[in-house]
Subunit: 483 residues, 2 copies
């Protein structure tokens, strides 16, 4: 049995051989997720869900610290509501699931399973908002949404996923813009500080923006295979929806006014990002701040007197501060356990055997570098704390280095194509902001505009001419193939 | 404006006049919930959702402490899966919503929006379980479910509600029964210790049990109007589903075996229970351990120098330990604020004005009794802590007393009907356990068997004869009209 499963570990396809297969192997062998009997729908298993709970916690506490409260709106949205904002229905109608029957009765009006909740939320905001004194509305919802997808990959693109969607109303366009940016910054902060994923942020092109938005802002991460992952978006919706849904209030001048509106979301897709940014050929590598298990204790020669006792004692001590597992199963060898927990991406493995106990020490093995160090049992919590911080930082640094190595610049389409072929990743290039060039680049290379960075991160590449048409261009954009 | 909303507070219909209207007034005026554009679906507003978050937290930490992990299964279930267990489909088919179209395509097989997830979860358990070494499976899911209802009331009966559903597998029937009881006990513990709702527990009749269960256990609470509320159920599912879904594993004797199965759930219905057990004619009364705001600070003469400063200081001090709000709006009078926060059911109101500050004290007003006490500012946290505990205990005691007053015994149908009319509530009566008597009682009185208590809480009422048919009866049951 040990042998058989040991082989299983080895059966992860190396990234270099076949990246999509590597991903599939990792998510299934580590039991993060499984395919369900409903095509395109995934089952999130406990290990995967525990990562999601940690992501939720990190975001939820930041949402609350910035004054947002959670609510819950109906799962089903009447067709007539979905249709109220023209761009929105055009964007979402092709990918919604329709409930046409309730109990044994045909419904008079079909209800769509929410693909996102702007419409139903706006219909309620119209009822609730009366006076400027009530503004801002700062609300969020954690839920699942359904978008009918043709080709799916667990976490990255599935017909159902878990997410949060914030929906806010403000008195002025400036406040709405400030909120949009604040939430983008919170998205980035958690991505970088908690998930150790460096991201580039900026604005989406008209083509890529949210259906119904005035402007969409995004954070984009780069995966091991050089593809980008849109990892969170924050939309300034202007008055598109507030006008369509007739949300009005008495403003400070006692006049009827339409508020300004934002929405913003991150989803279980982030788990795909964590896997593809940090993982390696031995499986998952989880940043300590997001890892369901931060440290696993593996007793060596556990049948020898005192070993298990010491292991339990360590679990008690470390368990008060860290998320700790103790693998005391006697049907598997320590070597098998090492492989298993390595595959699961646990940041630190603590090995403890009879000789270690005699010497008052143990071995701490890092998942990120494979290094092993001796640590005194006295003051072990301090040693673990320091090491977890080091691992967290190292994972971020490593991911940033990878991204930088995979980021290039191009001044014309030849260079653009050459880079994409030889060193796939982000390409920074000038863009005239015309849809025609955007489409042409996509058609010829598969790369899309990921975002146009904000002014303080703008650069002039080459002579400032559009990489596609050669006309003068004001903006540098990040291009990449994307999930 | 102050006046107008002050009147609003007065507009709560007294319970004695019209209990359903009282309930409707309370949930809407306190902004717990609202009606949505989709008939039978509710919007849970921030104040209501914050109560749900506290309920979730209390249960989730107990589930985890007893070894359960969370997962997430698809929202949509293929018709063929729903149909695999005969009793189950019969019970649920009439009330499910059907998705028949995805994007612009008719689906080959209709998908139902989950009314509960036994079927889809069992289809995955069949794939995952191989060996007794993997047992028990101890998993839970937090999600929304849809059951098409004809008449709905927010929290109590809606076409969509939020809940958790635990789904476990075990080697032996004894372990499954132990799990079923353990979870019922956890349900009771949180209901009583956190929500201050005393409950009676016991077994459901064959008629009332979950569709597909071997046995259903329930906790039942009694509302102010004498109606019972089924507040949480725990099902021993035996091998009904594991056989229907062909979940097998190699047991300790190396033979194929079917595991034993449980499921258990509580929902947002509990919020309805909190409202109807503790509320009064002035609005909500929230137990401190579940209240989104445990204490509200209301400055008196807040324009006077030092008042607001002191109020903020108190908020900082108390806010580290309790959930505290400070109402510093200057458009409303303290009196209006008193009424408003009273209606919202906040357990303690802290009043602080210039004279209080001079004397180094403040006023603490209890929501449950209306009493006001002076408290020294020095050591205020300790005083608040003690008072919150007292309020928590008092609410439980009061609810228990109410239940006892509304619990009677009956030896025949005349007494049964008289009691239900004169003092509606629980009726303890002997029951022969025949469906015919159960149906007759329901038809004639509207009361159903709420539960048959466990042996240690059994009593013999009168001469031990069935309240309906007069034949010898072994069991006492709790009867009541119910939500």
């Amino acid at each position: 049995m040990g042998k058989k499963q040991n082989n299983q570990v080895k059966e992860i396809t190396p990234m270099e051989v076949d990246f999509p297969q590597w991903y599939t192997d990792v998510i299934s062998k580590t039991e993060l997720v499984d395919y369900s009997p409903v095509k395109g729908f995934m089952v999130i298993r406990p290990y995967g869900y525990a990562i999601w709970e940690n992501i939720q916690k990190a975001y939820d506490e930041r949402f609350k610290a910035t004054g947002h409260q959670n609510m819950y709106f109906p799962l089903l949205i009447p067709e007539s509501l979905l249709k109220k904002e023209a761009e929105h229905v055009e964007g979402f109608a092709p990918e919604v699931a329709w409930v046409t029957k309730g109990g044994d009765k045909e419904l008079a009006e079909p209800l769509c399973v929410r693909p996102t909740s702007e419409t139903i939320i706006c219909s309620m905001y119209a009822k609730w908002l009366h006076s400027y004194r009530q503004l801002p509305f700062l609300y969020n919802q954690w839920c699942s949404v359904v978008r009918w997808e043709k080709t799916t990959r667990p976490f990255l693109r599935t017909s159902e996923f878990l997410w949060q969607e914030g929906h806010t109303l403000h008195e002025t366009p400036e406040e709405a813009q400030e909120e949009t940016m604040q939430m983008l910054n919170i998205y980035r902060e958690v991505a970088e500080d908690i998930m150790a994923i460096p991201v580039v942020v900026g604005q989406k092109s008209e083509k890529e923006k949210f259906a119904g938005a005035a402007a969409t802002y995004t954070m984009e991460a780069l995966m091991h295979d050089g593809q980008a992952l849109q990892s969170g978006t924050s939309h300034n919706l202007g008055q598109h929806f507030t006008k369509a849904f007739d949300i009005t209030y008495l403003d400070r001048n006692n006049e009827q006014a339409y508020p300004y509106h934002t929405s913003w979301g991150v989803s279980t897709r982030l788990i795909g990002g964590i896997i593809m940014v940090h993982g390696d050929d031995n499986g998952l590598v989880l940043p300590p701040r997001i890892a369901p298990t931060q440290l696993v204790i593996i007793p060596v020669a556990q049948h020898k007197e005192g070993v298990l006792d010491k292991a339990y004692e360590l679990k008690d001590i470390l368990g008060t501060e860290f998320r700790v597992e103790l693998d005391d199963s006697d049907s598997n060898s320590p070597g098998w356990k090492f492989n298993q927990w390595e595959m699961k991406g646990v940041p630190i493995r603590l090995e403890i055997g009879p000789r270690d106990i005699e010497n008052g020490q143990c071995v701490l093995a890092r998942r990120d570098t494979g290094e092993k160090v001796q640590a005194a049992l006295e003051g072990i919590a301090e040693a673990v704390r320091t090491l977890l911080d080091e691992i967290q930082q190292n994972l971020f640094d490593r991911a940033l280095k990878m991204r930088e190595e995979k980021t290039s610049t191009a001044v014309d389409m030849d260079e653009f194509k050459k880079n994409l072929k030889e060193n796939p990743g982000f390409i920074k290039a000038m863009w005239c902001e015309d849809r025609a060039c955007e489409d042409k680049i996509k058609d010829e290379t598969g790369a899309s505009v990921r975002c146009v960075p904000f002014d303080d991160e703008q650069e002039v590449i080459g002579e400032g001419k559009c990489v596609c048409c050669g006309k003068p261009a004001k903006k540098m954009a990040y291009f990449a193939r994307a999930y």
